[in-house]
Amino acid sequence: MKKLFIAIAVTLALAGCVTTDSLSSITTALTTGVSNPVSKQDLYAFENGMIIAFAGLNAYKKSCANGALPPSCKDTVKQLQVYTRRIPPVLKDLRSFVKNNDQVNARIAYSTATQLLADFKAVATANNVQVQ
């Protein structure tokens, strides 16, 4: 079980590429803009990183649903879902901006997405899910 917690910790650390606060990340996005574009390659790597993160999250949720974890795990899943349920529309925008080469908006969407990942990493930490 400890290994599963470690897996979750690593996936969340893995996915949390940026750990700055929201305002700082958006400011950075606006100032870097087209000088630091988000390419399809970047999007591809980012989404594959998220797949790895969600592999860990889904494993945790499955273990929780099967009763293999303490009952409090359900609360942890619900807390994480507050953030993960915000991801789909952000991803939709990010994909559209990247594919249409709208780099200013792509950078903002990319920062928003990475901030969401950082936010649910913080929730995991607060619930004693170890983050490396």
């Binding site: 079980m1 470690i6 690593v10 893995l14 399809k40 594959n48 790895i52 889904n58 499955k62 349920r85």
Partner: protein
């Protein structure tokens, strides 16, 4: 392309795969994602088809997690 970040991502991904397999959990999506990262880094570019497949898998996994527990 930030290769150092890519390699770090791959290394951490392998750790996750190991932990998932040890815990008897489904590791195939994570393995597929790592394969995608490696292939993408080697190619230097990604095809629309590769991106579409990755997006479909990610969407499914997000949807699965977001279902009520």
């Amino acid at each position: 392309m930030d290769y150092a970040a890519i390699f770090d991502l791959i290394a951490k991904g392998l750790t996750v795969v190991d932990a998932l397999m040890t815990a008897g959990q489904q590791a195939a999506p994570a393995i597929k994602a790592i394969s995608g990262i490696v292939t993408g880094a080697q190619q230097g570019t990604v095809t629309d088809d590769q991106l579409t497949q990755t997006e479909a898998l990610l969407d499914q996994m997000i949807s699965d997690f977001n279902l009520d527990i």
